[in-house]
C-alpha cells in the first residue's frame, strides 16, 4: 500500500529475529473468539482520487455565502504568515513537549501564547489553551467551584446559549447547579445578577460583548461578587479586546473565551481553541497544561511544562481537569496572529470592526420597520427587531448568497422578530449595502 514501508524481505528478516513464522502469529495473544466479525470498508485509493472526493465535499460547504453571522465564531482576516508558520512540520508533527530539551520550539511558543493571553485579558496567569470557547466557560465554572468550595454558579442568560448548554452539562454530573438570570432586553440585568449572589455562589458568569452584541461594564458586579466571596468569570471575544475594557480591568477573576477569531479558520466548527486566564493566586486551580520559565544546568533560560501535579497523568481522578490534549497548534496560530498585527494593528482591527458595524447599524436601521434592540454600546454585533419573523427572512436571503444574521427566536422564546447581525472587517461597504437592499426587498415582499 505504501504507507507501511517494510518490504516483504524486511518483514521476513524481522520475523526471523522475533522468532515468529508470520505476522499473524504475533496476534496469537488475541483469542480467536474475540476476532472482528466484520471490517467492511471499501478498498483504498490514491491521493488523486481522494482529493477529487474531498474537493467535491468542500465545494458543497457554503464557503461562498457572505456571512453576517457570529455565535462566537467570526470571519476575520488571517494574515498569510499564520498559515506559513503554523504549517512548519516541526510544529505540527511534534507532540506535547514532555522532553523539554528537544521541544523548546513548542514550549517557548506556548509561553509566549500565555503571555499574549495575559496581556489581552489583563490577567496574570494563562494556561496553554483549552478545547474551545464553550468548554472554556465550563472549565472556568468548575474552577470556581474548586476555588470557593461552593456548589452554584450564576449564569447570565445573555452568555452564548451554546456555551450555556455545555456549562449545564458539565455541572450536571457533579451535582452542581447553574442558575440562569434572564437579560434585561439585550443587556445583562446587572441588578438581578447582583441580587442572585448568595453564600453558595461560586461565581457569576457573564459575556462581554454578550450574545446580543451589547458591551457592558461589569466592575460593580465584580465588587459585589467579591463581597460575597464569589468570583466573576468573564467570557470575551478576543478581537473586541483591542477596544473594550479587559476582564482584568473590570475586576474579573477568570477570563475565558474562544480564540478562533485569532488566526483560526472557520473550518465548520473547529479546531479552534479556548483560552483561560486568572489571577496568579488561582494558578494551581487552572485546568490543562501550563508552561513555565526556568533555567538549565548551565543557567540558560528555558521552558518546561510546569505545575503538572494538578494534572490527570499524576493526580488521576483528583486532577483539576481530565484534559490531556490542548489545542497547541491553534494557540500557536493565535499567538502568531497577535504578533503579526502587533499592538497598533490589533487596536486598528478592533476599531475597524466597530466602524463597519456602526455603518451597517445605521444602514439597516434606516429600513422601514427595522429597529435596534440594543440600548447601549455594541462592538461588531448588534440585534435588530424586524417587522416580521426573522427566520423566513434569513432563509430567503440565504438563497441570494447572504447569511443575514442569526434569528434569535430559537434561543430566546419570544424573540422571533430579533436578528443578531455580525459585521467583521472583512465585510465590505458593498456587501453591507447589498444586505440592506436584500433585507429591504424581503421585508417589502
Amino acid at each position: 500500500m505504501g504507507y507501511c514501508p517494510n518490504t516483504s524481505d524486511e518483514i521476513r528478516e524481522m520475523l526471523a529475529v522475533i522468532g515468529a513464522g508470520s505476522i499473524e502469529e504475533l496476534f496469537a495473544p488475541i483469542p480467536v473468539e474475540l476476532r472482528a466479525k466484520s471490517f467492511d470498508l471499501p478498498p483504498g485509493m490514491s491521493e488523486f482520487e481522494l482529493m477529487r472526493i474531498m474537493k467535491e465535499k468542500a465545494a458543497a460547504g457554503g464557503a461562498e455565502i457572505v456571512p453576517f453571522i457570529g455565535c462566537g465564531i467570526y470571519d476575520h482576516v488571517i494574515p498569510a504568515v499564520v498559515d506559513h508558520l503554523s504549517s512548519r512540520a516541526e510544529f505540527y508533527t511534534a507532540y506535547t513537549p514532555y522532553q523539554p530539551e528537544c521541544s523548546q520550539g513548542t514550549l517557548q511558543a506556548l509561553f509566549e501564547y500565555q503571555s499574549a493571553i495575559c496581556r489581552l485579558t489583563g490577567m496574570e496567569a494563562s494556561n496553554a489553551s483549552l478545547y474551545d470557547g464553550g468548554t472554556a466557560v465550563a472549565e472556568a465554572a468548575l474552577m470556581s467551584l474548586r476555588i470557593t468550595e461552593r456548589n452554584r454558579v450564576i449564569l447570565d442568560a445573555s452568555v452564548n446559549p451554546l456555551h450555556r448548554e455545555i456549562v449545564t452539562g458539565y455541572l450536571h454530573g457533579l451535582s452542581a447547579e447553574a442558575v440562569e438570570v434572564a437579560p434585561d432586553g439585550c443587556s445583562s440585568d446587572l441588578k438581578s445578577l447582583i441580587d442572585s449572589i448568595d453564600e453558595e455562589t461560586a461565581a457569576v458568569i457573564v459575556q462581554n460583548p454578550n450574545f446580543f452584541g451589547s458591551v457592558q461594564d461589569f466592575s460593580e458586579l465584580a465588587s459585589k461578587a467579591h463581597e460575597k466571596g464569589a468570583l466573576l468569570i468573564v467570557s470575551s471575544y478576543p478581537i473586541a479586546l483591542g477596544l473594550v475594557a479587559s476582564p482584568g480591568e473590570m475586576g474579573a477573576d477568570i477570563a475565558v473565551g474562544d480564540g478562533q477569531s485569532l488566526g483560526n479558520a472557520l473550518s465548520f466548527g473547529g479546531p479552534y481553541f479556548g483560552f483561560i486566564a486568572t489571577r496568579k493566586r488561582f494558578i494551581r486551580n487552572l485546568p490543562g497544561r501550563i508552561v513555565g520559565e526556568t533555567i538549565d544546568n548551565q543557567g540558560r533560560r528555558g521552558y518546561v511544562l510546569t505545575l503538572q501535579a494538578r494534572e490527570q497523568h499524576i493526580k488521576r481522578h483528583k486532577a483539576t481537569s481530565n484534559i490531556c490534549s490542548n489545542q497547541s497548534l491553534c494557540a500557536l496560530r493565535g499567538l502568531i496572529f497577535c504578533a503579526a498585527l502587533g499592538r497598533k494593528g490589533f487596536e486598528e482591527l478592533a476599531v475597524l470592526n466597530y466602524d463597519k458595524a456602526q455603518y451597517a447599524k445605521s444602514r439597516l436601521t434606516s429600513l422601514k420597520g427595522v429597529t435596534l434592540m440594543n440600548t447601549g454600546t455594541t462592538f461588531n454585533e448588534f440585534t435588530l427587531s424586524l417587522p416580521m419573523d426573522a427566520a423566513p427572512v434569513v432563509e430567503k436571503l440565504l438563497s441570494s448568497g447572504v447569511a443575514a444574521g442569526v434569528p434569535l427566536g430559537q434561543y430566546y422564546p419570544g424573540l422571533d422578530y430579533a436578528l443578531a447581525v455580525t459585521v467583521t472587517e472583512k465585510r465590505s461597504k458593498a456587501e453591507i449595502d447589498r444586505l440592506a437592499d436584500l433585507l429591504e426587498e424581503a421585508l417589502c415582499s
Partner: protein, 479 residues
C-alpha cells in the same frame, strides 16, 4: 532565544489591517474602552517569520526525527490528508443552524456522517458522535452517556466507575468529572487487571468499567469478553479506551467483544498530526441502547439522501460548540478513505510487527518485565542500568543527542524505570535499526561510562532543565 515580546520595538509595524471603506464611526465610549493598551509585540513581518521559523527548528518532530513515544502513536501522517483537512477553511459552522442553511453545507455534513459510519464499522459500534474534541473529552462524553442511560432507567444508585491502575490518567479523571467515584483495580503479575479483584469490586453500585486494551504495557488482555460479561451481569456498562486502536484495526472490534462505549483518538490512530499537543479529536461510539443519550446535534441522512443536523432531545446535551474539531475529522475521513480496508489492516499488522521487532532486538540488554508477544508497543525497564546509576531519563536524554526522540519514560507507573517504545507502523526497519543501535550503545555506555549518559543532552539549545525551580517560580508569562 529571545521572546517575541523582547524583540518588540515601539512603533515597529506588523501586518497591515484592511483599509476602511466606511465612514469613521463616532468614538467608542471611554467608559467601556480599555485603559491599558494591549501590549502585543511590535515586530516586522520578517522578525516574526524569522522568530517562529527558528523557534520551530528547536523542536524534534515526526517529520524530522524518529519519535517512538510510547502511548502517543507518533506515526507519519500523509501530506495529502493534511491538504484535505485545509479544504474546509471557509465553511462557517453557524450556517446549518440557520433556517434553510443545511442545504448549503451538504459536503461537510456528509463527511461527518461518513466518518461516523466508518468509525462505527471499524469499532463494531452502532452509532458514533464526532463531537468530543479530544480523547479525554471523549471519555467524559462516554461516561456522561452511560450516566444518562442509568438515570433514564431510574437506576440512580450507581456511583462508582472501575478503572485498572494501569489505565491512562484521563480515565479516572474523566469519570470523576462526570461525577463518579473511582474504584482502582491493581495489575496482576501477568500484566493485566487482576480479575479476581475486579470480580470482587463489581456490584450494583458500579456504573461502568473502563478498559484500555491493549493496555499501557502494550499487552492484549484475553479476558476482556469475560470482563464485559461480569459487568453486564451486574447491570454495569463497559467502556473501551480506544487510544491504542491502531494495534487491533481489522483484528478486534470492541463492539463485537461486548463493549458498550468506545472513544477513539483520531490524532493517534487515524492520520492526523499531533500539533505539539493538539488539536485532537475523540469520537465516541456506542451500542444501540445508548444512542438516545448521545450529545446533540446528530447528523442524520434523510430519506431523500440529504443530510441534516438534528437536535437530539434525550441526549446529554452539547459537549462542544458545534460538530467537533471538523478539520481534524476531515483528515481522519481522508485517511480511512485513502488507506481502505487492506491499508487499515496493514496498519495494525505493521504496528505490531515493528514493536515486536524492537522488543526482540533490545531484550538482551534491557529488562523486559512482561516477556510476551506485545502489540503496538513494548515496555522495558532500565532496572539493569539503574545498578550502574543510570536512570531511564539518562538513556532518554542520550537518545536526544543522537537525534532520536526518546520513548515515554516512567510510564506506565507500574513498571520501575519504565521505557515505553511505540515505533508505529510507518517506520521502516532501516530507521528502527539505527535507533536500536543507539539504544544498545546506551546500554554499553551505562556499563562502561555512565557519566556520558548523565551529561546528556549536550547538542540541544538547552541542557537539562530545572523543573522544580519552574514549579516554584510559577513564571508563566513574560513581564
Amino acid at each position: 532565544m529571545q521572546l517575541i515580546f523582547e524583540k518588540s520595538v515601539p512603533g515597529r509595524g506588523g501586518v497591515r489591517v484592511p483599509l476602511s471603506d466606511v465612514p469613521k464611526a463616532s468614538t467608542f465610549p471611554d467608559a467601556l474602552r480599555r485603559k491599558q493598551p494591549v501590549l502585543l509585540p511590535e515586530v516586522s513581518e520578517l522578525d516574526l517569520v524569522r522568530h517562529y521559523t527558528n523557534l520551530s527548528r528547536r523542536n524534534f518532530s515526526v517529520d524530522t526525527n524518529f519519535y517512538p513515544l510510547g502511548s502517543c502513536t507518533m506515526k507519519y501522517n500523509t501530506k495529502v490528508t493534511e491538504n484535505a483537512g485545509g479544504l474546509f477553511a471557509g465553511c462557517h459552522p453557524v450556517l446549518p443552524l440557520l433556517p434553510g442553511g443545511e442545504r448549503l453545507v451538504q459536503g461537510p455534513l456528509s463527511l461527518i456522517h461518513g466518518l461516523e459510519q466508518q468509525l462505527a464499522e471499524i469499532t463494531g459500534m452502532d452509532e458514533v458522535t464526532t463531537q468530543p474534541l479530544a480523547g479525554a473529552h471523549g471519555e467524559m462524553t462516554g461516561i456522561m452517556v452511560i450516566s444518562a442511560y442509568h438515570k433514564a432507567r431510574g437506576d440512580h444508585k450507581r456511583k462508582y466507575v472501575i478503572v485498572p491502575d494501569s489505565s491512562h490518567g484521563t480515565n479516572p479523571a474523566s469519570a470523576a468529572m462526570a461525577g463518579y467515584e473511582i474504584v482502582t483495580i491493581p495489575t496482576a503479575p501477568y500484566g493485566d487487571m487482576d480479575l479476581e479483584q475486579f470480580k470482587n469490586a463489581m456490584n450494583d453500585e458500579v456504573a461502568a468499567v473502563m478498559m484500555t486494551c491493549p493496555n499501557t504495557l502494550g499487552l492484549f488482555n484475553p479476558h476482556i469478553a469475560e470482563i464485559c460479561d461480569i459487568a453486564h451481569q451486574a447491570g454495569a456498562l463497559t467502556y473501551y479506551d480506544g487510544a491504542n486502536l491502531n494495534a487491533i484495526l481489522g483484528k478486534v472490534r470492541p463492539g463485537d467483544v461486548g463493549f458498550d462505549v468506545i472513544h477513539v483518538n483520531l490524532h493517534k490512530t487515524f492520520g492526523t498530526p499531533h500539533g505539539g499537543g493538539g488539536p485532537g479529536s475523540g469520537p465516541v461510539g456506542v451500542k444501540k441502547g445508548l444512542i438516545p443519550y448521545l450529545p446533540t446535534p446528530r447528523v442524520q441522512r434523510t430519506e431523500d439522501g440529504s443530510f441534516v443536523a438534528e437536535a437530539h432531545p434525550e441526549g446529554i446535551g452539547r459537549v462542544s460548540d458545534f460538530f467537533g474539531n471538523f478539520a481534524i475529522m476531515a483528515r481522519a475521513y481522508a485517511y480511512i478513505t485513502l488507506l481502505g480496508r487492506e491499508g487499515l489492516i496493514e496498519v495494525s499488522e505493521h504496528a505490531v510487527l515493528n514493536a515486536n521487532y524492537i522488543m526482540a532486538r533490545l531484550k538482551d540488554e534491557y529488562e523486559l518485565p512482561f516477556e510476551q508477544t506485545c502489540m503496538h508497543e513494548c515496555v522495558f525497564s532500565a532496572s539493569r542500568q539503574l545498578k550502574e546509576g543510570v536512570h531511564a531519563i539518562d538513556i532518554a536524554k542520550y537518545l536526544i543527542d543522537r537525534g532520536f526522540h526518546p520513548p515515554t519514560v516512567y510510564f506506565p507507573l507500574n513498571v520501575k524505570e519504565a521505557i515505553m517504545i511505540e515505533p508505529t507502523e510507518t517506520e521502516s526497519k532501516q530507521t528502527m535499526d539505527l535507533f536500536i543501535d543507539v539504544m544498545l550503545e546506551a546500554a554499553r555506555l551505562a556499563r562502561e561510562n555512565p557519566e556520558a549518559l548523565h551529561q546528556a543532552p549536550v547538542t540541544t539549545p538547552v541542557g537539562r532543565l530545572d523543573e522544580t525551580r519552574a514549579a516554584r517560580a510559577q513564571q508563566v508569562c513574560c513581564e
